[in-house]
């Protein structure tokens, strides 16, 4: 089952598209990282998944085909919006009571225990808490709903490094305990590299890359070899990004597997998730190859793409 599935989805604000032609499927049980620069359409995509935004074109379904924003979907999806909006004039205890009244399921004891552990006073007004504490309260409110899908929009931005670790630890523990799926957006991939098992890369309103992290890492590698041979070689493989020095060239290529033959005089290195993401974000072509297996094969596009990328270098 896919927890989020989109088909050609797009959202236009006035004349500009915040997101366009986005087709992806996030499988159940994954921690999906949604990465991209500011303004890439991450929030738009998340808002669509929780029914806060209605797509201009295409469709979005959640939790195995349910309509977004439907009572059934809302019941099983918890959303923590960017900047963790809380009612500033309500105390933390009142926020818990509010969440209990607005949802069919709410694990009050868990929420209280977690906030007490974090040293967040229940009697304090939400608006008087620090940014990090507000994020923790918002996360607690979301997790205590025992959702099947937890959607977090830039949850780490207001947290210090220590709190980020605690925050992610809570998310991971709940995932393990409850079989919950998570979609988490960030413009800093570094924190997610170790925990994410599914990756969605958005760049200026377009889907650049999507797939299981394991597959992505297995099917991409950096080839290093003599610069003079780079052009000839680039015609034979799918090059995502090419960096050329005077003597050596580094080609980030997509391959069918790690046992693809390496041409003589070249060396293959594994690629890190961050390198991979940045490479796809830099590739500005319209026809970026999608992760094989998730989208329909587009052999022509792939070729066009790396040629375009090459030409741009």
């Amino acid at each position: 089952m896919n927890v989020i599935e989109t088909a050609g989805v797009g959202k236009r604000y006035g004349k500009s598209w915040a997101l366009r032609d986005c087709t992806l499927a996030v499988p159940e049980g994954s921690l999906a990282a949604l990465v991209g620069p500011n303004g890439a359409g991450k929030t738009t995509l998340m808002n669509m998944a929780v029914g806060l935004t209605i797509p201009t074109e295409g469709t979005v379904t959640v939790l195995g085909g349910q309509a977004t924003g439907s009572p059934a979907a809302l019941d099983d999806i918890a959303f923590m919006a960017q900047d963790a909006p809380l009612y500033k004039n309500l105390s933390v205890a009142d926020m818990l009571h509010l969440a209990r009244n607005l949802n069919r399921r709410f694990d009050g004891p868990f929420a209280q225990a977690r906030l007490t552990d974090l040293g967040i006073p229940l009697k304090k007004k939400s608006g008087k808490l620090s940014g990090g504490q507000q994020a923790q309260v918002a996360l607690t409110l979301a997790v205590a709903r025992r959702p099947r899908l937890l959607i977090l929009d830039e949850p780490l931005s207001s947290l210090d490094p220590l709190a980020r670790q605690d925050f992610m630890a809570t998310v991971m523990t709940t995932m393990a305990d409850e079989g919950m799926s998570v979609l988490l957006s960030s413009h800093a991939l570094a924190e997610l590299e170790r925990v994410a098992d599914y990756l969605i890369v958005l760049g200026t309103g377009q889907l650049r890359l999507t797939g299981e992290v394991e597959d992505l890492l297995a099917t991409h590698r950096v080839l290093t070899g003599p610069a003079a041979e780079a052009d000839r070689y680039a015609g034979q493989v799918a090059v995502v990004q090419a960096k050329r020095g005077d003597a050596q060239a580094h080609l980030l290529v997509r391959s069918s597997g790690s046992d693809d033959p390496v041409p003589p005089g070249w060396e293959a290195h594994p690629v890190s998730l961050e390198e991979l993401t940045l490479a796809y974000l830099r590739a500005t072509s319209q026809a970026v190859p999608r992760q094989p297996g998730t989208a329909e094969p587009q052999p022509g596009n792939n070729k066009k793409h790396y040629q375009a990328t090459e030409a741009a270098r």
Partner: protein
């Protein structure tokens, strides 16, 4: 390649009952108790004042009626001092629904949107339509009860001034809306206008201004256009020379008695003098007609607000 289409899972939640409506009572109270207690406190404070002054006015009135000699002071007390106070309060009563609506309506959704908290509230299990409908109804009913009760007290306070030298009756436009069920209905409409603009404009202050302007528009429409056509008026005719009732203004009855009708219109065709008027006995039908269409308009605005909430999410 074959595309496998799996049937849509019924989902755990669809089989289970939704979040009950009554849960919204606590939510609404907790989020709006400052507003509700504020309105209650304000109306209660004015009520105490009205009660004290109302009793004084009644004793002044009795003193004036029973006065046999040197009556100037007693006449002045009732006809001047008391009347000035009542008249001033009467003007405030005309503004009250507009102000109450402007201060309570736009905040309902406008503040959630300004503060970004709608992204929390509208993604909870209860769903944003239920959330909006429950709040609109609960707050609308609360305002109707508060202002309905208050206007009964104001009507009692103002009674001594009806049908005497001041020239007001139950059906004087400026009196009519402060009593019966009209005052509560105008307040509910004003609240609904406010809630609608709060969602439409999405900013608190502009929505408040828009509410006041729209309220004024509807008020003038009712006053200058619609009331004349409420199906309770009677048209009579007589010869021009017979000295029949002649009214010059729509809103000033000619005879200054408690039973003076509300003359809507007089006109002459040939040698016949026509008068269209509303007898005082038709006060309540007038009230029900007015409150009726106001509430229908309020419900329509409420529905439009819910539609905006459904459609115009950020």
């Amino acid at each position: 390649m074959t595309v496998l289409t799996l049937p849509v899972e019924p989902g755990r939640a669809t089989a289970q009952p939704a979040v009950p409506w009554r849960r919204m009572a606590w939510v609404t109270w907790r989020q709006h108790r400052a507003m509700l207690t504020g309105v209650t406190a304000l109306l209660a404070a004015v009520s105490v004042f009205l009660l004290i002054e109302g009793l004084k006015i009644r004793s002044d009135y009795t003193a004036m009626i029973n006065c046999r000699t040197a009556c100037q002071p007693a006449d002045n007390e009732f006809g001047s001092t008391d009347w000035t106070l009542a008249n001033t309060l009467g003007i405030f009563m005309l503004l009250a629904p507009a102000l109450l609506g402007a201060f309570t309506g736009p905040a309902l959704l406008g503040r959630e949107i300004e503060a970004g908290t709608f992204r929390y509230a509208w993604t909870q299990g209860i769903g944003r339509v239920r959330w909006t409908v429950a709040k609109l109804i609960l707050l609308g009913v609360a305002l109707a009860i508060l202002t309905g009760a208050f206007s009964q007290l104001f009507a009692w306070f103002f009674d001594p001034f009806l049908g005497n030298s001041v020239g007001f009756t139950d059906l004087t436009a400026t009196v009519f809306t402060t009593r019966g069920i009209a005052f509560a209905a105008w307040t509910v409409l004003s609240f609904a206008i406010g809630a609608f603009f709060g969602m439409l404009i999405r900013r608190l202050i502009p929505a408040m201004v828009a509410t006041l302007i729209a309220y004024l528009g509807v008020y003038l429409l009712a006053w200058l256009v619609l009331r004349e056509d409420y199906p309770v008026a009677i048209t009579t005719s007589g010869p021009v020379a017979s000295g029949a009732v002649v009214a010059t203004s729509v809103n000033s009855p000619t005879a200054l008695t408690p039973n003076a009708p509300w003359i809507l219109k007089t006109w002459v065709t040939g040698s016949t003098h026509w008068t269209r008027y509303i007898p005082v006995s038709r006060f309540w039908p007038m009230q029900f007609i007015e409150a009726g269409w106001l509430l229908v308009l309020a419900v329509a605005l409420g529905a439009a607000t819910v539609w905006l909430v459904r459609r115009r999410a950020a």
